[in-house]
C-alpha cells in the first residue's frame, strides 16, 4: 500500500515531468529544424543592372553560391524605378514573407523622405550591414588642380560655371556636393549635372565634360592615375588605397564625412528564425575571405553590423539624411 500510495503521489509529479520533457523535447526539435529557405530567395536591388548596388548583389550571390551556404538560390531582381521607391514599396507589399530581401544604398533614407512613401526603414526588418562605401573629390588631371586651395580658387574663377557630375538628383553625390559648397563658401557656384551611374560620371570627368566629381574609389579607379586625380577624401581616416590623399578632416573640415551604407533588409514581420538564418548567412559572408579581398581592393570599408546596433545605425542615418535634405531646402519639417 505504501508503495502504491507513494506511486499515487508520484503520478502528478510524473505527469509534470513528462509534460516538461515533451515541451523541452518539442522545443529542441523545433530549434534543430530552425527556419531554412524553402523557395528561391528574391534578392531585390533598388537600382539598375550594372550599377554599384547591382555589382555588390551579384558578388554576394557568387560568394553564397560558391560556398553553398544556402539551400535555395539567391535570385537578383532589379527594381530601379523611382530612385528605389519601387523596390521599397515591393518589400512593403511582401510583409511577413521571409523569401524576399533587399540590398540598399542611401536612397533607402532619402527616397522615402522626399517622396512621402508609405514605407521607410522602420517598416522593414534590418538584417545586416556589410560595408560602407567611401567618397573622394576628383578632378581631371589636365586641370592642374593639386589640392583643395587650388580647387576653391578654380571654382571661384569660373564664376558659377563650374560643373560637378554625379548620379541622380538628390542622391548621395548631390548631398556631398552640397556639403562641400557649404563648407567652402561656394554656394551657387557649382552646377550639378546628374548622370545615370557612377561609371558614367567618372567617364565624363575623364573625358573633360564636367569639372569635378565625388566618385566612389571603385568608380574612379579605371581612370586613375592617368586621367583622374583625387583631391581629398570624405572619410575620418585616410583610405588605404589612396594613402597620399588627405582627408577633409585633416584640412580642417571635420564635418565633411560621408558614407554610403551597403546593407540587407527584409520585409517587416518576418519570423524570428528566418531573421536569425539571414543574420548568420550574412555574418559568414561579411567575414569571408572573398568579401575581405573585395572590400580592400575596392577601397570600401568592410563594416559588419547586425541586430539592435544596426537598427540604431539606421535611425541615426535617417536623421542625418533628413537634416541634409532640409539644409538643401528640399525637405520641410
Amino acid at each position: 500500500m505504501k508503495s502504491l500510495k507513494g506511486s499515487r503521489r508520484a503520478i502528478p509529479f510524473l505527469t509534470l515531468a513528462l509534460s516538461l520533457f515533451i515541451v523541452v523535447a518539442l522545443g529542441t526539435t523545433q530549434a534543430l529544424a530552425a527556419w531554412k529557405p524553402t523557395r528561391p530567395i528574391e534578392f531585390i536591388i533598388m537600382a539598375g543592372k550594372g550599377g554599384g548596388a547591382d555589382r555588390i548583389a551579384r558578388l554576394m550571390q557568387k560568394i553564397v553560391t560558391q560556398n553553398k551556404w544556402s539551400p535555395q538560390p539567391l535570385v537578383p531582381i532589379n527594381k530601379k524605378g523611382g530612385s528605389g521607391a519601387e523596390a521599397m514599396l515591393y518589400l512593403l507589399s511582401k510583409k511577413g514573407n521571409p523569401h524576399v530581401i533587399l540590398v540598399t544604398l542611401n536612397s533607402f533614407f532619402t527616397t522615402p523622405a522626399l517622396r512621402k512613401l508609405p514605407v521607410n526603414y522602420t517598416k522593414l526588418t534590418p538584417v545586416y550591414r556589410l560595408a560602407m562605401d567611401t567618397f573622394l573629390l576628383w578632378v581631371n588631371t589636365k586641370s592642374g588642380i593639386k589640392n583643395m586651395d587650388d580647387f576653391v580658387k578654380a571654382v571661384k574663377a569660373k564664376k558659377g560655371k563650374w560643373t560637378m557630375g554625379g548620379t541622380g538628383k538628390m542622391q548621395e553625390d548631390q548631398l556631398v556636393t552640397n556639403m562641400l559648397m557649404q563648407a567652402y563658401g561656394l554656394k551657387g557656384m557649382i552646377t550639378y549635372v546628374p548622370f545615370r551611374g557612377g561609371g558614367t560620371v567618372a567617364k565624363n570627368l575623364a573625358g573633360g565634360h564636367v569639372d569635378s566629381t565625388v566618385n566612389n574609389p571603385s568608380e574612379g579607379l579605371p581612370h586613375y592615375p592617368g586621367k583622374m586625380r583625387p583631391i581629398a577624401a570624405l572619410t575620418p581616416e585616410r583610405i588605404p588605397a589612396f594613402k597620399e590623399v588627405p582627408t577633409f578632416k585633416e584640412l580642417g573640415q571635420p564635418q565633411l564625412v560621408y558614407f554610403m551604407q551597403r546593407s540587407i533588409n527584409a520585409p517587416g514581420g518576418i519570423p524570428k528564425d528566418a531573421l536569425n538564418w539571414y543574420t548568420d548567412l550574412f555574418n559568414k559572408l561579411c567575414n569571408s575571405k572573398e568579401w575581405k579581398d573585395y572590400t580592400s581592393k575596392k577601397a570600401l570599408n568592410r563594416a559588419c553590423l547586425s541586430g539592435a546596433p544596426l537598427g540604431k545605425f539606421f535611425a541615426n542615418e535617417d536623421v542625418k539624411h533628413k537634416k541634409l535634405l532640409m539644409g538643401m531646402g528640399l525637405l520641410k519639417n
Partner: protein, 508 residues
C-alpha cells in the same frame, strides 16, 4: 607587330579545350536565348552569370561574350520567322525579314542574317584587336552633347522611312516618345506619369513589353481575324541548294554590309548608344543607297543584311568602352561589367597590361565564337523552318505563351504582362488603320536617352542650346548636328516640289 603576337597568344588561350567548350556552350545557349522573344542577351547573361562562378575569369568572360554573340544571331530568328523582335537590336530585322518569311523565303532571310552577322562581327573584332586603346580615347570625347547629336542622327536617318503618311509616322513617333517619359524622371529621380501611384509604372514602360505586344501579340490577333485560312503562307523550302543560292545572292549586299559594319562598330563603341540605334541607322542608310528602295519593307535581302551586320558589329564595339573605360556601351555589357567587378578585375588601360591573359583570351575567343555562331545559326535554320510549317492552331498558342514569358522576364512583374496584351490590341488597331509601328518602337527605345542627354547638355551649358553648335568646344557634336539637320531637310525638298507641282496642276 606586338599586337599580332598578343593575338596569337590570345587565340592560344581561347583554343584550350575548356575555353573552346565554354565558347561553344555559350554560343548555342545564346542563339536559343536570342531566338526566345523577351529573353534577349541582357537577361540571358544575367541569368547565366552564376554558372561562371565555378571557372576562372577568362573562361567566364569567354562564356558570357559567346552568349552575347549568339543572342545577336538568335535575335534575328524570331524577328524573321514570327515578326517578334527578341531584343531591341533585332527590331529593324523584322522590317524585311518577316515579309520575306511570308513570301516563303524565310530560309533566305535567315541565312542572309547569319552571314551578314558574321561579316559585321568579324570586321568589328579586327578593329577591336588593332585599335582598342586609341579608339577608347576617341570614345572618351563623347559627353552628353555628342551623345545627343548621335541620337538625333539616328532619328534623322530614319525620318522619311515611316511609310506613305508622314503625319501617321509623326503621331506614332510622338506616342513612343510619350511612353518613354513614363516612370522615373531621369534627371530629378522623381516618379512621373504613374497615374496616381501604380507601382507597375515606376520602372517605366519596358521596350520589350511594347515590342512583343504590338508585334507578337498584335500579329496573333491579326491572324485570328484571318481565321487561319492562309496556312500556306508559311511554306518554306530549305536544302543545301537554297543555302548556296542565297549565298550567291548575297553579293548584291556587299556594299550594304560593309557600310553597316563600319557604322555599327562606331555607334556601338559610343557609350550609351549601343546596337539598337546602329541597326536602325544601318537599315535607313541601306535604303537610301539602294537601287531598289521601293523593295524595302516588302522583303529586300539588303533590309535584313543591313541591321544584322550592324548589330553584331556594335555588340563587339560596345565591349571596347567596357574594357578600356569601365563603362558599358549597352545594357548587356553593363551586366558583364558587373561580372568583371565580381571577379575582382578593374577595367581601364591597366587591364590590358595587368590582365593580358584575360583581355587577349577574350579577343581571341571573339574570332572563334563568331565562327561558331554562324555555323550554329545556319544549322538551326531547318529547325525554325520546320517550326513554321506547324499549323497556326498549334503555333499561335505557343507564340502567345512565349510572348507572356518574354513580357514577364525583364522586370518579373505581372503588370507588364497585362500591359503587353493591351499593346497587342494597340498593335492590331494600328495595323488596321495603317499606322507604322517601327517609329513608335524606335522612339520608345531612344526616348530616354534623348531626353537625358538633352537635359544634361542644357544643364552643362547653363541653358544655352549653343552647346550643340559650338565648333570650338564640341566639334564632334556640331558636325553631327549639321549632318542631322541636312538629313531632316532632304526628304522635305521633293515633298515641297511635289506640292508645287500639284498646285500648279490644279490651278491650270
Amino acid at each position: 607587330m606586338e599586337i599580332l603576337g598578343n593575338l596569337f597568344y590570345g587565340l592560344g588561350i581561347a583554343l584550350s579545350p575548356q575555353n573552346l567548350l565554354m565558347a561553344l556552350f555559350g554560343v548555342v545557349l545564346g542563339v536559343a536565348i536570342g531566338a526566345m522573344p523577351g529573353l534577349g542577351s541582357v537577361n540571358g547573361v544575367a541569368i547565366l552569370l552564376p554558372i561562371t562562378f565555378a571557372v576562372p575569369p577568362t573562361s567566364a568572360i569567354i562564356f558570357l561574350a559567346a552568349i552575347y554573340y549568339g543572342a545577336m544571331y538568335g535575335g534575328a530568328i524570331s524577328s524573321i520567322t514570327l515578326n517578334i523582335p527578341g531584343a531591341s537590336t533585332a527590331v529593324a530585322t523584322t522590317f524585311d525579314g518577316y515579309p520575306l518569311a511570308r513570301r516563303g523565303k524565310a530560309a533566305d532571310a535567315l541565312v542572309t542574317a547569319a552571314v551578314a552577322s558574321f561579316i559585321g562581327g568579324t570586321f568589328s573584332i579586327v578593329l577591336f584587336t588593332f585599335f582598342a586603346p586609341p579608339l577608347a580615347e576617341f570614345a572618351l570625347r563623347f559627353g552628353p552633347p555628342e551623345e545627343f547629336a548621335v541620337v538625333l542622327l539616328a532619328y534623322a536617318t530614319f525620318a522619311g522611312l515611316g511609310g506613305e503618311s508622314p503625319l501617321k509616322t509623326l503621331i506614332a513617333t510622338m506616342l513612343g516618345l510619350l511612353m518613354s517619359t513614363v516612370g522615373t524622371d531621369i534627371v530629378s529621380g522623381s516618379p512621373r506619369l504613374i497615374f496616381g501611384g501604380i507601382t507597375g509604372f515606376y520602372h517605366g514602360i519596358n521596350f520589350l513589353v511594347l515590342a512583343i505586344g504590338i508585334y507578337g501579340v498584335g500579329e496573333i490577333f491579326y491572324t485570328l481575324e484571318e481565321g487561319f485560312k492562309t496556312k500556306e503562307r508559311y511554306q518554306a523550302k530549305l536544302g543545301v541548294q537554297e543555302i548556296i543560292s542565297t549565298l550567291k545572292n548575297l553579293r548584291q549586299c556587299t556594299a550594304t554590309i560593309m557600310r553597316g559594319s563600319l557604322l555599327g562598330f562606331f555607334v556601338g563603341m559610343l557609350p550609351a548608344a549601343g546596337a539598337t540605334p546602329a541597326s536602325f541607322m544601318s537599315y535607313s542608310i541601306a535604303k537610301r543607297f539602294a537601287k531598289n528602295p521601293q523593295e524595302f519593307g516588302k522583303g529586300a535581302l539588303e533590309g535584313v543584311a543591313a541591321p544584322e551586320c550592324a548589330n553584331n558589329a556594335a555588340s563587339t564595339g560596345s565591349m571596347l568602352p567596357m574594357l578600356t573605360l569601365g563603362i558599358p556601351g549597352s545594357p548587356t555589357t553593363a551586366v558583364m561589367l558587373g561580372a568583371l567587378f565580381v571577379w575582382g578585375l578593374v577595367p581601364g588601360p591597366r587591364l590590358f597590361v595587368e590582365n593580358a591573359e584575360f583581355v587577349w583570351g577574350l579577343t581571341g575567343s571573339l574570332y572563334i565564337a563568331n565562327t561558331m555562331a554562324v555555323i550554329v545559326a545556319i544549322f538551326a535554320v531547318p529547325i525554325f523552318i520546320w517550326m513554321l510549317r506547324m499549323p497556326m492552331t498549334i503555333l499561335a498558342p505557343i507564340i502567345l505563351v512565349v510572348c507572356a514569358v518574354g513580357g514577364f522576364s525583364p522586370t518579373q512583374d505581372m503588370f507588364d504582362v497585362y500591359l503587353m496584351f493591351i499593346f497587342g490590341a494597340v498593335g492590331y488597331i494600328f495595323r488596321k488603320l495603317d499606322y507604322p509601328l517601327a517609329p513608335m518602337v524606335l522612339a520608345l527605345v531612344l526616348g530616354g536617352l534623348t531626353e537625358r542627354t538633352f537635359r544634361q547638355s542644357m544643364i552643362m551649358s547653363h541653358g544655352s542650346p549653343g552647346i550643340f553648335f559650338d565648333f570650338a568646344g564640341h566639334p564632334i557634336a556640331a558636325v553631327l548636328m549639321m549632318v542631322s539637320v541636312v538629313l531632316f531637310v532632304l526628304p522635305l525638298i521633293p515633298m515641297i516640289f511635289r506640292f508645287r507641282v500639284s498646285r500648279a496642276g490644279t490651278s491650270a
